[in-house]
Point group: C2
Chain length 134, copies 2
DNA sequence: AAATTCGCTTGCGTTTTGCAAGTGCAAATA
DNA sequence: TATTTGCACTTGCAAAACGCAAGCGAATTT
């Protein structure tokens, strides 16, 4: 059902084949920065993803080892989504997107203040964040 | 015709609104690493982009200030495409994609050897490459 | 027992993609 | 000069993906 067709051996191309669409990295963002973890939480994000698209992207990311589904500790009706190591490793890339956007868009102050931290010591920020995510 | 609808103020979302599809970053890649600059050159890349998609992405990237069209020095029939500062600033992000892919895919040796350089001194690599691109 | 929450799935109309062919202008060739 | 070739797109159309609303089964709450 969810077959991955690699267009070439290029690293950019292969990466885009997995998460190169308008939604996947927003799911990763939520998992990374907002700590949102349930299906319903993703739906609450500002961008308003459609339920079927969300389901297909979660499936795609899970198939490709970027996220995992876990039982929710509080309830059997809920599902917890979490980044894998492979997903956490997208952090440097996510930070660079943020820094690029910081240069060319007007960002919310909460994000600007986070980026102030990043700019002070990028490696330290990444190291700290990775620990907190795994 | 090419209206940009921002889904939210999130930097990831805003960035994806511009280049968050399966093709745009491959165009940026060609401009960045292969020095391909004409319309025909893009078509020659391994991924085989369709002509109409190429035209629409070039338009999108130009509208958003990531690339510029220039007269080709050799001929009026040809067009030269080049990264702007905004486009060159995507370099750190492109490198992080490469590094992520290096960890999870098997890459061609030419690219692996480039990444060896990158890993030795990332900032130096970026600095050098930026100069060469502008 | 009934209503609500949760994580999806389904249907369906609209948009985007992918492929092939065509167009107009510039440049090379005959 | 006439014709062919090359280049940068544009157009038409079928297929796939998207976006919205509604529905559905299992778990939880009332």
């Amino acid at each position: 059902m969810m077959e991955i067709k690699k267009r070439s051996d290029c690293p950019i191309s292969s990466s885009l084949d997995i998460w190169g669409d308008k939604w996947s990295l927003l799911i990763v963002r939520d998992l990374m920065f907002k700590k949102q973890c349930t299906y319903g939480d993703f739906l609450k994000s500002d961008e308003k993803i459609a339920t079927n698209i969300l389901a297909s992207r979660l499936q795609m990311l899970e198939t490709n080892g970027v996220i995992i589904k876990l039982d929710h500790p509080e309830s059997k009706a809920k599902v917890l989504y979490k980044l894998t190591q492979k997903g956490v490793d997208l952090l440097p890339l996510m930070i660079e997107i943020n820094l690029w956007a910081d240069k060319y868009f007007t960002l919310p102050i909460e994000i600007k203040s986070m980026l102030k931290e990043v700019k002070k010591d990028k490696d330290a920020f990444i190291k700290h964040k990775k620990i907190e995510l795994l």
